[in-house]
């Protein structure tokens, strides 16, 4: 006879794996698509790099975020513990189903918002209106506006800087050699800061924010100097190939930023899959919910593997067609979009805002378009994407309620 506790945990973990898979399929393609589209890397490389980085991001930087999801959306104290287990499971399943449908229907939704919506739906049924933390839901709504706007502004500025400081100069390649290392340095700073500021790594090694900033600055300077040395040899073959050479420099840069986006997806989104399970384990074992209980590393690894697996299966198919579709996205544009998205996600996650990568990427694309950088953006498709964001909360909530009611009639 199998212990029902382990049966519950096992079942929940299986669903969490499914959720992680759907996150990988939906989100990872967004992070790497600009690099693949700009022909910076091949599809195969993108899938492998994304898989590895997402896994690392989940395991190394993930746990910090997990706390948020499981306990902040609903006030768990006022709901019975056995209902809570059912609720977490149905929320996970509902969120995963919506994420799968939207990947299939080509919509880049936020899996974070999907799980928040699902938890909200369950909270409404199990504990009434009072059990939902409406402030948190409000911050989700704020993200609809904030993430695209910030992504848009940063991408606009970055692209304008590239145009002003490189393309507008008499010798674009020469200017790129000066501006390039600075931009690379800033990127290095951002990546390093995302590792060291308010993450489990900084907690383990007792690194204060100030030390983190100092260390990141050092990393930035070192990376900048290395890139000066590497860029020194690059020379435009003919005068006509100036822009081409500049794009080539940014092609290399873009691989770096894409990796960073993949990494941040791993660290931000793994919580969506395993957060609810982390809540279930202590509940199933001894019936109490302990907010302070650390998330077991095995669970993080499970989430990481799930996301990586999703990236390698469906994400692979997504990216395969992506490369052929983005034709007008050159490396400088791709870099601007990636940089805008990565910076927004980093700053927002440090401020504790539930910001979504896919929302920022869409905003960043518009930003480059507003800077007259793209030949054409189809706004009707952007409209469709925005509608799918708005639908995420109610649909995830509705599905979650349905599954919860079904499970309750079966088990209770």
């Amino acid at each position: 006879m199998i212990d029902p506790v382990w049966l519950t945990i096992g079942g929940a973990s299986a669903i969490a794996f499914y959720m992680a898979w759907s996150i990988g399929a939906n989100d990872v393609a967004n992070s790497m698509s600009t690099a693949v589209g700009a022909k910076a890397i091949t599809h195969k490389q993108a899938v492998i790099i994304a898989g590895v980085l997402v896994f690392l991001g989940a395991v190394l930087v993930g746990p910090h975020v997990s706390e948020t999801i499981k306990s902040e959306i609903i006030k768990v104290e006022i709901i019975q513990s056995n209902l809570l287990i059912l609720g977490f499971i149905s929320s996970l399943l509902a969120a995963a189903i919506w994420a799968t449908i939207s990947s299939w229907k080509e919509m880049p939704i936020s899996t974070t918002h999907s799980i928040i919506g699902a938890l909200m739906g369950f909270g409404l049924i199990a504990g009434g209106v009072g059990s939902v933390n409406w402030l948190k839901i409000g911050s989700v709504a704020a993200s609809w506006v904030l993430s695209p706007v910030f992504g848009c502004i940063i991408a606009f500025i970055v692209f304008k800087i590239i145009v002003r400081l490189i393309f507008a100069k008499r010798e674009p390649v020469g200017s790129a050699k000066i501006v390039g290392p600075i931009i690379i340095g800033i990127t290095g700073f951002l990546v390093s800061a995302s590792f060291l500021l308010k993450t489990p790594i900084s907690a383990t090694y007792n690194i204060s924010d100030f030390q983190g900033v100092i260390f990141s600055t050092l990393v930035a300077i070192i990376i900048g100097i290395i890139s000066i040395i590497l860029l020194r040899k690059i020379q435009a073959k003919k005068e006509e190939e100036d822009y081409f050479t500049v794009e080539n420099i940014f092609r290399k840069l873009q691989v770096g930023t894409s990796c960073y986006v993949a990494f941040s997806i791993g660290s931000n989104d793994v919580a969506n899959a395993i957060g609810p399970v982390a809540g279930i384990i202590p509940l199933a074992e001894n019936g109490v919910l302990n907010n302070q209980a650390p998330i077991p590393i095995g669970l993080l690894a499970l989430g990481g593997i799930g996301i990586a697996f999703g990236a390698m299966t469906w994400g692979r198919r997504v990216m395969k067609t992506v490369g052929e579709r983005i034709t007008s996205l050159t490396n400088t544009r791709g870099f601007s979009v990636d940089f805008g998205a990565a910076t927004t996600v980093l700053v927002a996650s440090k401020l504790g805002m539930p910001i979504s990568t896919s929302h920022t990427v869409v905003g960043a694309v518009i930003g480059v378009g507003l800077a007259r950088g793209l030949e054409a953006i189809d706004l009707s498709i952007i409209k469709k994407i925005v509608i799918s964001w708005l639908l995420t909360l109610p649909i995830a909530a509705g599905t979650s309620i349905g599954i919860f009611l079904l499970l309750r009639t079966i088990f209770v």
């Binding site: 822009y243 395969k320 579709r325 793209l374 189809d378």
Partner: protein
């Protein structure tokens, strides 16, 4: 398999259209170039009194005109209303329309020339050839200006590229003016010979000068729309 893959495309990429309006404009321009270079060869042979193979050229130009029409129709019919482009969509479409008019006139010219083989009098033959060359040069300068828009978009509209495009546009104006001057000389030459020529010959010669000159006029119109398209 292809259909299946389409199911899994990422939505973001749909926002950059598969074929950008600009690349379609260049595609259309390549058709113009093709048609005009065929026309130039045929026209000069015609002026020299060699009518052999002119019907072939008429057919070729007509075919290219039709192909260009398909590109134009595709571009115009599938340009969604909510499209964010770096230039004004209306001006873009006007430039396309004028570019297409070049081929329309080229087709008309070859058809009309093919219907009646008019011998160009020796005295004004060289002027006619000079005029044809100047008109074709005008179209060539217009093509350079249109191609330069690509660099302009690539660099996010930097001043240097904008100036370069403007230079090409001035060149179009200059050549078009030159073509006009040659045309006046041609007309004058035709009137001088009016006693020698049959009235029908005079009519057709004057018309040929008009038809060829119209091609340069439309090349100038493309350049004008381009200029207002790239204005700040």
């Amino acid at each position: 398999m292809v259909e299946e893959e389409n199911h899994f495309r990422a939505p973001l990429t749909d926002t950059f259209r598969r074929k950008s309006p600009f690349s379609q404009l260049f595609e259309h321009m390549r058709k113009v170039r093709e048609g005009i270079s065929i026309l130039e060869e045929g026209l000069i042979n015609y002026y020299r009194g060699d009518y052999k193979g002119f019907s072939e050229i008429t057919k070729k130009v007509s075919k290219i005109e039709h192909e260009a029409d398909i590109i134009k129709g595709n571009l115009r019919n599938h340009l969604p209303s909510s499209l964010l482009m770096p230039v004004d969509k209306g001006k873009f479409l006007w430039a396309l329309r004028e570019q297409d008019a070049i081929l329309d006139h080229a087709e008309n010219l070859t058809e009309m020339l093919d219907m009646r083989h008019t011998k160009i009098p020796k005295e004004i033959q060289e002027l006619f050839i000079k005029h044809a060359n100047t008109v074709m040069k005008t179209v060539g300068a217009m093509e350079d200006a249109v191609s330069n828009v690509k660099d302009l978009v690539e660099t996010g509209f930097v001043k240097r590229e904008r100036e370069q495009t403007k230079e090409f546009i001035y060149k179009v104006h200059e050549l078009e003016w030159e073509a006009d001057q040659v045309r006046y000389q041609m007309t004058r030459g035709i009137y001088k010979l009016e006693k020698k020529l049959s009235p029908m010959d005079v009519y057709h010669l004057i018309k040929i000068a008009d038809w060829v000159d119209e091609i340069a006029d439309h090349a100038e119109n493309v350049a004008d729309w381009l200029r207002s398209m790239i204005a700040k």
